[in-house]
Symmetry: C2
Subunit: 324 residues, 2 copies
Amino acid sequence: MTSTTTAAPQRADAPQIAVLPRPGDDGDAPPDYFIESVHDGGGLTGAVSDETGGLVIAGRVDVDDLSRLLTGRPGIGWIQLPSAGIERYADVIAAHRDRTWTSAKGAYAPPVAEHILALTLASLRRLPQLAATKTWGPEVGSPLYGSKVVIVGAGGIGVEAVRLFRAFNTDITVVRRRQEPVASADRTVTTAELDTVLPDADVVVIAAALTEGTEGLMGAEQLALLKPSSVLVNIARGKLVDTEALLAALRGERLAGAALDVTEPEPLPDGHPLWDEPRCLITPHTADTEAMVRPLISARIRENVRRWAAGEELEGLVDVEAGY
Amino acid sequence: MTSTTTAAPQRADAPQIAVLPRPGDDGDAPPDYFIESVHDGGGLTGAVSDETGGLVIAGRVDVDDLSRLLTGRPGIGWIQLPSAGIERYADVIAAHRDRTWTSAKGAYAPPVAEHILALTLASLRRLPQLAATKTWGPEVGSPLYGSKVVIVGAGGIGVEAVRLFRAFNTDITVVRRRQEPVASADRTVTTAELDTVLPDADVVVIAAALTEGTEGLMGAEQLALLKPSSVLVNIARGKLVDTEALLAALRGERLAGAALDVTEPEPLPDGHPLWDEPRCLITPHTADTEAMVRPLISARIRENVRRWAAGEELEGLVDVEAGY
């Protein structure tokens, strides 16, 4: 890693990359490590110009501004987005599908899959309720060991979660859009078959991208299929789960627990009834904190700048049709 | 499995096993599955008599009564204890070391090691604090992934915990009494070297038997060696950790968290200050609940009855000198 952000490499053939937002833009200036990562990958950084070949989005930018910028700069061939979920950028990606778009998809899999395990084990073993208790109570909790796990989503996070769940001798079903088995799972079914695998599940994990096809995926009907002893974990996007239906299921004790790193609305407002549900554990979108993400997005940018310069295929290519 | 507890096998050479406590004893009658397990292993069950060759302890029995019983029954060659930790029976074992003693050691490793992971992940990711929060807060928590884990104890639970931690790409040091490496760990040190490995640890797990040599193992001096970002997990016995010193460390924010499935005193009395420590998660000795343990102790008894009848070495043999 370079230790300075000013001494950019001087190779004449180095790709010219603009990191947005720039200091002075409405958004916050990007953390230095974004710029360092471009340099580490062999790129030059600077303001957007006719020489700019790529953009690295390091923070929140206005998507309309981004779209106008791209329209005026046909030389920008590649845009790196900072998150794994890209639904915020869906329109600008669609409007500029001639460019190469990459995201952080897959890069954050280790910390997010770990959070899935943390939330799953906490829910099964009733840690939220025990944390709120101030007396030595009776035995509670059920084991993950040997249980049936359904993971919705077969991206980097879903596949990493399969690997971690495997260590606990679980039976694992992956639910995905496409008809293509995940080799490490016990079985893979398509989203159309979701309702058939829910009744047996002890654990249901939502790890799918938010698309038109997945919004409201876990509705009242799906929640009603779950066993009262089962737990639901959502680390994807709040809109994949029907909040009102989930609240009703928890209140009716038709679920043993829910653990949510994402909510709808998000942030979950003060006073929202989910905050008062003893069976509901809410973490404020901290599956991957900035400190956890930093080395991972840095590696993704470094590698993609290198590949872009070398004309190689980039990591984390966005599938424009699929929406992730 | 047999479906009845009355139709015992009738083979003439079947071992005669008494399951204690008997209905009518001071203790509770043993659950039926203890008796079924003896039958499944090929044994006959009945009251203690001159024909009794083995005892299966299925619940709390008075150790003095047990000692007197053994003195009067020299024909009882084998005693199976129901728990992994056997410090309660240390004196009676020592007084009757000519008999074969077996415990549940190793049998409960899967659920207990899983609880270790649950408590570790919960502490690192601040789930007790988040469970108590009713507002969307800032990012908190640190990852297990890539961290340094110290596991004190190399019994069945410690070794199973190594296997689970391994999935999270951790660096694992095992601390054990004997100088014999645990193959799956990154390094093994003896208890005498404990103080040298604590300063680097992100996670310290206490999974050792309670013996004269391990009581108070984690005292004020050891806790002072830990990083303020580290977490302590105890699923062994409360007396391995100095409760007052731990309380002081948590209050002084010299530890990021502690998660205790066992306490000293245990049960932890209402009003004890540990209940009010936001960084302390207490589970009421539920690493292995009765429901989780049932199939595991059943398998141990079944197998040991079979081996006893066949003259083979038993599983879970107590090391009388070591005290576990």
